[in-house]
């Protein structure tokens, strides 16, 4: 670790980042007018923006000060935190590119290099970034380590292998057996052992010694943040719901990418307080909430605003989503007294690594708990583990709960897959059915 780099990093942390944020606030353009259909925006939005800007800004000064790890969203990052890695989440970065409607551009770079257009667009965007160095975040540090788990998909393993190969850096993979009926003892033992096997490798790469006490503190923080996030989501059971799921897609970022750090823990307390205040004062995310919806699958990042407005204008609010719930669902298994087994249980049973009966049951309880009238399923071309089975899930929910549902064929971040006319027609038909059904009851 170079002293000069450390001093620079510290300076940027203490003075550079605050100065940047002050400058950004100062030069802030006039905010876009908020359509009438929406309630007042969350104040926490500003804090969220600051946290993320700071994280990406400081990442430029981190090489030579801390080791950098690129991590998948479902990987047990707590272990890396015990070695003080600075973590970057390529999936978040790809979502950011998608939200800026630049996905097709980045995907195109990977495709020109020979990667197939049929691959997940998060992967193609990231490979496009790796091949070109382009990023809307200014500059991303090169990783010293790649850390992935196939508990969200096998795709991430191929994607990270490709990066490891290209950049010639180590890859640690956490193999999470899919839960076909229930997690077995062998599964838990296997995952727990893998985590412990990682310690000497992480010690070598980071140059730091592992202390179990550190991990326990981090796990506690992680648990706390996830639980607070879960409580925030539960607040959306209130009528009217204090935020929309489109807000939650954004506020998810710290729990995904800063999990285990004090900044995430603090942030969710701020958000919770605001959300609870809104509930107490009856402030809704949309001005008139007549219909309540659930979203299935990852967001369509380049159309979040379009979809939010489309539904809000029809007095429809998304109050729940299987996606946002994923970072709160299994935290209950975490146990600081039994870190290895409990991490195996927590990370091995997340929604995408669990069977479709589990997903169906979860959806049913969410629909019930959140007073949901209808469902929008995003069938995304990119993501097989989230999308294969959706047709039958819809059928089951329709049969068992008489729940109207629509499936949108689109993609998470590659805007070329979007067909506005077709989607608009489908959505309008869905809204009509929903309105008729609700008014008939």
């Amino acid at each position: 670790m170079s002293l000069a780099k450390s001093l620079k990093f510290k300076f940027m942390k203490d003075y550079g980042a605050p100065a940047l944020l002050t400058f950004q606030n100062f030069k802030k353009r006039k905010p876009r007018p908020i359509p009438e259909a929406f309630g007042p925006p969350l104040k926490a939005n500003q804090r969220l923006k600051e946290i993320l800007t700071r994280h990406y800004f400081l990442s430029r000064y981190v090489p030579g000060v801390k080791k950098v790890a690129w991590v998948t969203s479902g990987a047990p990052v707590e272990l890396l935190r015990a070695f003080d890695f600075y973590t970057i989440y390529p999936e978040n970065h790809s979502a950011l590119v998608g939200a800026k409607k630049q996905g097709a551009d980045y995907c195109g770079i990977a495709e020109s290099d020979g990667f197939s257009q049929d691959l997940c667009s998060y992967a193609r965007i990231d490979l496009g970034h790796m091949l070109s160095g382009k990023t809307p975040a200014g500059k991303l540090p090169k990783p010293d380590l790649l850390f992935c788990s196939n508990n969200i998909c096998q795709t991430v393993l191929y994607w990270y292998k490709a990066i490891a190969h290209e950049l010639d850096i180590p890859l640690i993979h956490f193999d999470a057996p899919f839960v076909t009926t229930q997690q077995t003892e062998a599964d838990v033992r296997y995952m727990a052992q893998q985590l412990q096997d990682m310690i000497p490798v992480l010690e070598r790469i980071s140059g730091k010694i592992f202390y179990l006490d550190d991990l326990e503190v981090i796990l506690k923080r992680s648990m706390e943040s996830s639980q607070t996030w879960g409580t925030i989501l539960k607040e959306m059971q209130a009528k009217p719901a204090p935020m929309t799921i489109f807000d939650a897609f954004g506020h998810l970022a710290p729990i995904v990418s800063l999990r285990g750090l004090p900044v995430a823990e603090d942030y969710y307390h701020i958000l919770l307080e605001e959300v609870q205040d809104r509930v107490a004062r009856g402030i809704g995310a949309i001005t008139e909430e007549r219909y309540r919806l659930i979203w299935d699958n990852i967001a369509i990042w380049y159309k979040v605003r379009y979809l939010a407005t489309f539904f809000a204008e029809r007095k429809m609010n998304f109050v729940s989503a299987t996606y946002t719930n994923a970072w709160a669902e299994t935290t209950g298994y975490l146990d600081v007294k039994d870190p290895w087994n409990s991490m195996a249980k927590t990370y091995g049973q997340i929604i995408l690594n669990n069977n479709l009966k589990h997903r169906l049951d979860l959806m049913k309880s969410m629909i019930n708990d959140y007073g949901v009238h209808g469902m929008v399923m995003h069938s995304t071309r990119s993501c097989k583990p989230y999308s294969v089975g959706q047709f039958d899930l819809r059928k089951a929910l329709n049969t068992e709960l008489d729940l109207p549902a629509v499936i949108l064929d689109a993609d998470i971040a590659d805007e070329r897959v979007w067909s506005e006319q077709q989607i608009q027609t489908r959505l309008e038909a869905f809204c009509e059915t929903l309105e008729d059904q609700v008014s008939a009851t």
């Binding site: 197939s116 795709t155 190969h165 993979h173 057996p177 077995t184 169906l360 071309r381 294969v388 089975g389």
Partner: protein, 367 residues
């Protein structure tokens, strides 16, 4: 001339004679364990016929192996009486397993078998042994206690089949196998549904001459999930192009790289066997190891070019494919990549591309 029983007729006969048959999806599973329970695994990779009903359950961007398998399952074929087994191969098959079991529902049991992913070590080996034990327990719930002697016999039979397959494979690479492209892959694929004893007889009936048979054909290695469609194989034969080696999931990737010692302890043997299988995209191991392996096979078979037969929308193959093609091109080996939907004839464009590869390889032979 080989006498390979027709898949459908053979399985029907087996079923009529009271045989328990389990439909097995791609690709890696402990077949010896099923044999020991007197279950005949009938593998389902690319059943023929139109896809009519599966489209109501799966998106358009799902690979045809998954779609065709589901189409087959939806027909509820009588011959499958012992259930379905879904080995964990890729994200799509993983979800299909639970979709069939938990949402669609079938009148027979649905099993799954996890294949570890990534680079392997002692922890992985221990886990694999554990899940073999778990799999045994699950099968015992339906089929009664496992007879250890039967498992031992099954492993010995499996060992003989593997050894013979390895010999035939090596013979093919060194021009000592008098079989056309079509015949060779028909022979390989017969192992997907024949009783092990019948399959071994078939393999043993092929004689391997000591000396190479003169071969002036251009030499190609084929890589991917499945061998090319029979029409394409015939076309390769017509053009005097010989598929001398394969790196196929339905082919050599399911036979241990080296001849194992005859089995002593069955569970140890099955574990050892899994870890000696060649690198495969679906196991997601090291890319360098996979590339080294491909290169070695190219060297051993003196293949002049590589055909990548890519199943449309197959993520595991598509990721590796790009990097393999790049590396092969860097070493000057011509590569042809073709997308396959599994069924449907050979298009004019396909023919032109194969011809072009053939010409290129022949030109190189001349120069």
């Amino acid at each position: 001339m080989m006498n390979i029983p027709n898949r459908k007729e053979y399985l029907q006969q087996q079923s009529q004679s009271g045989q328990q048959i389990m439909g097995v999806l791609p690709a890696l599973y402990p077949r010896e364990m099923l044999w020991a329970f007197d279950i005949l695994p009938a593998e389902i990779w690319d059943p023929p016929g139109d896809i009519l009903h599966a489209n109501a359950h799966l998106q358009a961007t799902i690979c045809p192996v998954v779609k065709r398998s589901l189409e087959f399952i939806l027909k509820e074929p009588d011959i499958i009486n012992a259930g379905y087994l879904f080995p964990h191969t890729c994200d799509s098959l993983q979800n299909l397993a639970t979709q069939v079991k938990d949402l669609i529902g079938v009148p027979v049991p649905v099993y799954s078998f996890y294949n570890p992913k990534g680079e392997f070590n002692r922890t992985t080996r221990q886990y694999y042994t554990d899940i073999l034990g778990d799999f045994q327990t699950i099968l015992e719930q339906q089929h009664g206690s496992l007879d250890r002697k039967k498992l031992s016999t099954a492993c010995k039979l499996g060992h003989k089949i593997d050894s013979r397959r390895l010999e035939l494979q090596n013979a093919r690479m060194t021009d000592r196998l008098p079989l056309s492209n079509s015949e060779y892959f028909q022979l390989i694929r017969a192992g997907e549904y024949l009783q092990p004893e019948d399959y071994l007889k078939l393999l043993d009936a092929i004689s391997i001459p000591d000396e190479p048979i003169p071969n002036d054909k251009a030499r190609i290695m084929v890589s991917g999930i499945l061998p090319p469609h029979p029409d394409m194989l015939e076309y390769f034969d017509d053009l005097h192009l010989s598929l001398v080696a394969d790196d196929l999931l339905a082919g050599s990737r399911r036979i241990p790289r080296i001849k194992l010692d005859p089995p002593q302890d069955p569970m140890e043997y099955l574990t050892e066997r899994f870890f000696l299988l060649p690198p495969c995209s679906t196991k997601a191991g090291s890319l360098d190891e996979r590339f080294r392996y491909l290169n070695k096979r190219i060297g051993n078979s003196q293949a002049q070019g590589v055909l990548f037969n890519i199943v449309k929308f197959c993520e595991p193959e598509l990721f590796d494919h790009h990097l393999m093609v790049k590396a092969l091109k860097d070493t000057g080996i011509p590569v042809l990549s073709m997308d396959t939907e599994l069924q449907g004839g050979l298009s004019g464009q396909d023919k032109t591309r194969i011809e072009a590869l053939g010409e290129l390889l022949r030109d190189r032979m001349v120069s």
